[in-house]
Symmetry: C2
DNA sequence: TTGTATGCAAAGCGTTTGCAGTGAT
DNA sequence: ATCACTGCAAACGCTTTGCATACAA
């Protein structure tokens, strides 16, 4: 049976209260506020069990280490800012991706990551919303 | 100045003759055929310089370690088979992704990865080309 | 009391780097 | 003869795991 420890609660709350996917180290930093002394190993173990229970989801961005977010009901993607490195949710999806693969290939799923500048960074750098692909 | 060593040639040829992005270990395996004794460290060093020279490109799939492919002229994406784990090029692109991001965000670039079964694996497992997103 | 969860430290794994020796120019 | 390149092994950063202890049930 699963037990409700101070650490587990702190870790779950850290994900719950975050508006964006967190790195394990970020989860640790936040969990320490409620459970001082919690270890990184415990964070990893709990993230793993949260994922297994469907309460959290791993977010793998190309070339980055795995982040975690609380499970959202809907299909979505991510946007990473090239200035502040933060990751944001993107709720739209282009869809119709099945036809992109070569004939005979079975497409089940996809990951899409957008790169550029988030609104705050774009503004502070005086960037226009250039329309590149 | 850069020197043409047996190892460098073998590594470049390994990428050149591959039809898909290779893991560093796969590059090593192939390079060893032409340059026995070549080390993994040398593979990494040469991959790095090939990327700097624009002759190779890193391919980062979510949750996978970095693969490398010879530089293609055109924009493309990748498909990973859930059965054999191989990665294939997908030459189509949905485009029009700029509009997916929230207002104020500047979208410069994107990565798209499709998942499913490649034609050989789908056939050997009797899968139909189901039309899931 | 029982046994899961935890903290610590060590081990893994992929990648990078320091160093002395090798070899292309 | 230079000095960039190489192989080896150690170092690294992130993640996982073994083990004895702590604590929820």
């Amino acid at each position: 049976m699963e037990r409700n420890t101070r650490q587990r609660t702190a870790i779950r709350d850290a994900l719950e209260s975050a508006a964006r996917p967190l790195l394990p180290q970020e989860v640790l930093d936040r969990a320490k506020l409620a459970a001082p002394g919690v270890s990184l190993a415990t964070v990893y173990r709990n993230l793993k069990s949260l994922v297994e229970d469907g309460l959290a989801r791993p977010v793998n961005l190309p070339g980055e280490s795995t982040r975690f977010e609380r499970t959202h009901a809907h299909h979505h993607h991510h946007f990473q800012c090239r200035s502040c490195q933060s990751v944001f949710d993107v709720h739209e999806c282009p869809g119709e991706l099945v036809h992109l693969a070569p004939p005979g290939f079975v497409v089940q799923d996809h990951d899409l990551t957008l790169y550029g500048y988030c609104a705050p960074c774009a503004q502070s750098q005086g960037l226009q919303a250039k329309l590149l692909t």
